[in-house]
Structures are given as structure tokens and as C-alpha cells.
Symmetry: C2
Subunit: 128 residues, 2 copies
DNA sequence: CATTAACTTGGATTGAACTCTAAAGAGCAG
DNA sequence: CTGCTCTTTAGAGTTCAATCCAAGTTAATG
């Protein structure tokens, strides 16, 4: 059992963000102490870990909430969940390919400027 | 020479966004007709293309504006520009590696759910 | 116990990147 | 010229994902 602060340290999310995620339906059913403090279980951390993976691959809070809701509805939503993850995966792969293309152009420009810089420094050195 | 609408079609950015980028200092010095309409040259499109690459690899509008400003200041900023692109490139590569790791976990989960779905459907079929 | 640190809530605020609106001017087909 | 579409501006509004604030409650420590 972990406090919100401990989970914050483990996940890198702030306590604020953890409460926010809970409010938005991303991580429901977190237990409380008799005093009302959140007590995260290892299972909560495991769920959180998937949530972070989805978030870090660009899924929106809303979509994650949708996925989590389906999970709560039981096995008859399995097909939809598989669909959802598959589509997300596909989108991420496309985005990464796009990204790689754009980065290639940045790299090309970088090399271009590097060469220009070399010429410029050489020019300066000759003038001395 | 292209109108804002033509550039919008070519780049996929809306006319709104093109004006916004200009206001934020991302693409300055676009010519105008005597009536005040923007007239984009091929050179503008080329500049815009680098801007899009930077944006699409996650650089913020502010950072891009900074880069563009350095470009206007002339060759003595070449070193700084090269630095800036190099650092950006490094950050993007790191981010893509992170992304790949997160995506691997998503893929793993996807396979897990797929298997669960298969078992579930089989169970349903048997009951019939 | 008393104090201090951590936690609770709801609601307001932030910042980035657009996105839209209104009112007016420009340009072109018929 | 008439009407229609496109473009202009400043500035307001939207969305997303937090992030902060105030005021109060609970747990932990000397």
C-alpha cells in the first residue's frame, strides 16, 4: 500500500496529476484509509503503468478514460478494447514514421548549417 | 507566388494558422499585393517546410521563433543555430526511443487481450 | 498533546497552440 | 457596376492537460 506521494515518486506524476487522473476516470476504485487518504495497491500501480504508456504514446485523457470504462464493463467489451488498442498502435506507428521523416529533414538541415559554419569559421580565420 | 489559401492546401495548415505563425514570428517578411494580400514565394514555402518539420518533431512555437530570429541575425549566429538543431535532434531521438518502449508495452497488452478475447469467444461458442 | 507535515475537496487558473468572429477592404466573373 | 468570394485585422474564445489555491482534515513525531 502506497500513499499518493510514494506513487508520485514511483511514476513521476505529481500528486495533483494523480488526483486529476482519478477525477477524469483514468484510475478509479483507489482505496482509502478510514481518514479518507488514498491507498494505492500494486494492482493500481500496474493499471497506472498502462495508463502512462497510453498517455506517453499520445492517447488523449478522454480516450484512456473510455478504455478504462470498457475494462470495468467486463469481458463482453474485450473485442472493442482490442480494436481500440490496435488502432492506437497503428496511429502511433504512423506518427513515428512521420516523425522519422521530419527528423531526417532536420538532420539534413543540421548538416547543411554545420558545413556553412565550418566555411564561415575558416573565412574568419583567414582574415586574421 | 501563392495566395494564403494555396499555401494552406500545400502545407495542410489552415489560413488561420499561417497568419498565426506569422504573428508569432515563425515566418516573417511575406510579401503583399498592393491591396495587402499575402503573396508567398517558393522560398517562403521552403522556410515553411523546415518550420513544419521542427513543429512536427515537437519543437515549441517559441523555440522555432527563436531559431528563425537567429537566422535573421546573420552568419555569426550559425554556431548557435547548429547547437539548437543538434540539441533538438537529440531530444527527439530520446523521445522516440521512450515512445518505442511505451509502445512495446501497449503491444504486449494488446496481445494479452487478444488471447483473452480468443478464450472468451471460444467459451461462448462451446456453450451453444 | 501540540505541532507540523501530508492529505482532502471543489473550483479557478495557466499555458500552448490554435480557432473563431466581426467588420471592413480587395479582386474577379458576368 | 453588381454581386460574390477571398482576405485583412485585432482580439476574443476554445481545448487539452495539467496546476494551483483555499480551507479544512488526518497522520506522524517530539
Amino acid at each position: 500500500m502506497y500513499t499518493i506521494q510514494e506513487v508520485s515518486k514511483k511514476t513521476g506524476l505529481t500528486a495533483h496529476t494523480l488526483r486529476y487522473y482519478e477525477k477524469e476516470g483514468l484510475l478509479s476504485g483507489v482505496e482509502r484509509t478510514q481518514g479518507g487518504f488514498r491507498q494505492y495497491t500494486d494492482e493500481d500501480l500496474e493499471r497506472l503503468s498502462l495508463i502512462c504508456c497510453l498517455k506517453n504514446t499520445g492517447m488523449s485523457i478522454q480516450e484512456i478514460a473510455r478504455f478504462v470504462q470498457l475494462t470495468h464493463e467486463g469481458d463482453h467489451t474485450l473485442k472493442e478494447r482490442v480494436e481500440l488498442l490496435r488502432e492506437h498502435r497503428e496511429r502511433v506507428l504512423e506518427r513515428m514514421e512521420e516523425m522519422q521523416k521530419h527528423l531526417d529533414k532536420v538532420t539534413w538541415k543540421l548538416n547543411f548549417f554545420s558545413e556553412k559554419l565550418r566555411a564561415y569559421e575558416e573565412g574568419k580565420a583567414e582574415k586574421k
